[in-house]
């Protein structure tokens, strides 16, 4: 085994990150873009996302409501709104940025990916009838049928109560959504080499 003299080692530590930065950044960016693309595609192909994007007449492909109604109507969104858009904006805004040179543990540079946390997502996904609560968090933890009942025409007259049986039969089933998805991609971005 060949040992480098200490002054050469120190010179390498000082100079290598600067010399390699452009090349490493390019390689990292390519890998980052690929993962980001996969991430957005996976999010858009998630049955929950697809069902909400399809609007009030979509079938319950996510299986969260036993096909009694669909998520868009159950949550109580107004027709024409795009509840998925704020999440997509956050994911599209994801960037890879140069962070710092690595000097102590080997040679190289580190990058930073500002992946949103579940809380970031929950803060941009308010329930239409109680804006302090998040529908995306509700998918994971449980949602009441309140939004659906409140949206029914003539809720005061009892029409909503007549529909109760239907809603109760289609009790909401929680599903993993944002938190598990972000956890998986956090790991992939951390492993980006």
């Amino acid at each position: 085994m060949t040992f480098l003299p200490p002054d050469v080692k120190n010179a390498l530590k000082r100079q290598a990150p600067k010399a390699m930065r452009r090349q490493m950044e390019k390689e990292a960016q390519d890998k980052f873009k690929k993962i980001k693309k996969e991430m957005i595609e996976e999010f858009l192909s998630n049955p929950i996302t697809q069902e909400i994007m399809a609007g009030p007449s979509a079938p319950n492909i996510s299986g969260t409501l036993s096909e009694k109604t669909n998520l868009f109507a159950f949550i109580g969104f107004d027709q024409g709104t795009e509840p998925i858009a704020p999440i997509l904006n956050l994911l599209n805004g994801l960037t890879l940025q140069y962070d710092k040179e690595i000097k102590n543990k080997g040679l190289g540079i580190s990058f930073r990916v500002d992946l949103p946390t579940p809380e970031d997502i929950f803060s941009v996904t308010p329930l239409p009838w109680a804006t302090g609560r998040s529908w995306a968090e509700g998918i994971e933890r449980g949602l009441s049928g309140l939004g659906y009942l409140l949206r029914k025409d003539g809720g005061r007259s009892g029409a909503a109560i007549q529909t109760r049986v239907k809603v109760r039969a289609g009790k909401f089933h929680n599903q993993p959504y944002i938190s598990a998805f972000l956890r998986r991609y956090r790991k992939r971005f951390e492993d980006l080499t």
Binding site: L127, G132, R133, R141, G142, S144, L146, G155, R156, V167
Partner: protein
Amino acid sequence: MKEQFQHQLTTAFSMWFDNFLLTKGEAYTNTTGDFFHYTDNRLDSRYQAYGSSYKQWVTDSSVAGATIASGVCIGGDFSGRDDGVVLDFDNGRALISGSNTDLDVTGEFAVKDFNVYLTNDTEDDLIIENKYIVNSRLPSGPWNYIEPYDDVVPAIFLSTDVSENKPFAFGGMEDTVVHAKAVVLADDTYQLDGVLSIFMDSVNESIPRIPMSGYPITELGDLKGGSYYYTGVENAYSEGTEFFVDKVRTSKLSDRTRNVLANELYVGFIDFDIQLFRYRFQ
């Protein structure tokens, strides 16, 4: 079945919630009033029920300034527990021994601004389906007793929702998180905003693990041992790890949607994440 973690959490959380609201918000009113006789078929035949106009009197003597009932005046003379009077704090009434149904009964007590109930009902059940008797805390006649047992508003309904264990430390220690929630049904926005504000600030509070035996109320609604101090019970169970209020989110039912409700109530939600590091089955 012996007492489990979830039973302990429910007991401790409801007692803490009640005390926090009463102490931080001074959410009670001291009052005096007449009691009215009525027939209660569920009641032991040894007693006659005399109801006040308000449900859920304050039981907690550690709430500064609150008048905790210790008896009633019958024909102008004070009668307490030693004279055969049982105070049913939950139903806001006095149960008086004997068969006399035309006694002149008055009393002094603190009534909670919000009744606090534990529930398993869903939010839609609570808000849309249930028809509540409004037991307003604003004085207005004509005076009469309030029916026992049924839930009345203004009220706060507590429930625990999803619970999950995550591995935390070697040796099998779990990070247990329970999502608890409170649905607030208020007469007006002042009350609602007050409750939401108080509990928004409850983040990072710790709650001692009070077992079910620490619950202060008897089957007739009176206090075990005649008095109850939350701070005393809290101190008695302060050993060991406590429940931790890790996260609190508050929100209100928007006015646009509130308008379709049959009752003119203001609705709010408080979502808690209660955390405890523990070993399973402990």
